[in-house]
């Protein structure tokens, strides 16, 4: 399985990554991508800061991807996750999966996201008009792991 993992401060080009992902792999008929962006529901978010654990982050992401590889028929996997300061609407991260079968591509992408959310060492801090606060983990994110 082709596996590419990028943990970086710089923005990434979602369109170009989607376009190039699994390109030329005529055996893989199904590609699923997920992109997460800095959400601003109320309109008063100034920005976000993402902290991570250099060294562990890459290992954790690779372990999650290898677990997915063992469970589904995957030809290519891509994970990109940014850290550092981000503005509202900016893309935080993406995953992409390619498989001969659409069900495998979908399930693997959702699995990667569920595990990445709760098992990869990233922490988000939001800065709004009235100050900064660490984003709390949601029970539903931990619960999402029970499905797998």
């Amino acid at each position: 399985m082709g596996l590419r993992i990028l943990v970086q401060q710089e923005p990434f080009d979602f369109g170009a990554e989607c376009d190039g992902f699994a390109a030329g792999r005529h055996d893989l008929g199904a590609v699923v991508t997920f992109a997460g962006t800095v959400r601003d529901l109320g309109g008063d978010l100034r920005g976000m800061e993402i902290e991570h654990y250099p060294g562990m982050t890459e290992k954790a992401l690779e372990a999650i991807a290898r677990e997915a590889e063992g469970r589904w028929d995957l030809g290519e996997v891509l994970v990109i996750h940014r850290h550092g300061p981000l503005a509202p609407g900016e893309r935080i991260m993406m995953v992409a999966t390619a498989s001969p079968h659409r069900k495998d591509a979908f399930e693997a992408a959702e699995f990667l996201m569920d595990y990445l959310k709760s098992r990869a060492p990233f922490w988000k801090k939001e800065t709004a008009k009235d100050g900064a606060a660490w984003v709390a983990a949601k029970n539903e994110d931990e619960d999402a792991l029970k499905r797998w």
């Binding site: 654990y53 562990m56 954790a60 996750h81 996201m113 990869a120 922490w123 988000k124 660490w134 931990e142």
Partner: protein
């Protein structure tokens, strides 16, 4: 000697990202007890272990995990990436 790392609000409460510690603790829980006994900022940071996670040598583990041979322990809140 052990490298102890703190992330997110654990780092902020303790006031530093990393320190080297001379310890004879044999488990993570013993290390936490040593740290809590040091100063109030540690006491505050480690007040509720259910809201903390721990990694030994960059692998997620539990608070009863042994420290034998460990080089690096990290404490942090539940992850919120994605």
């Amino acid at each position: 000697m052990l490298d102890v790392l703190y992330f997110a609000w654990v780092r902020e409460r303790i006031g530093l990202p990393k320190e080297r510690i001379e310890t004879s603790a044999t488990t993570v829980a013993e290390l936490v007890e040593e740290l809590r006994a040091r100063e109030e900022r540690y006491e505050v940071a480690f007040a509720d272990l259910s809201s903390l996670r721990v990694a030994v040598d960059q692998e997620l583990t539990e608070f009863d995990a042994p420290l034998s041979g460990a080089r690096e322990v990290a404490f942090f809140p539940p992850m919120t990436g994605g």
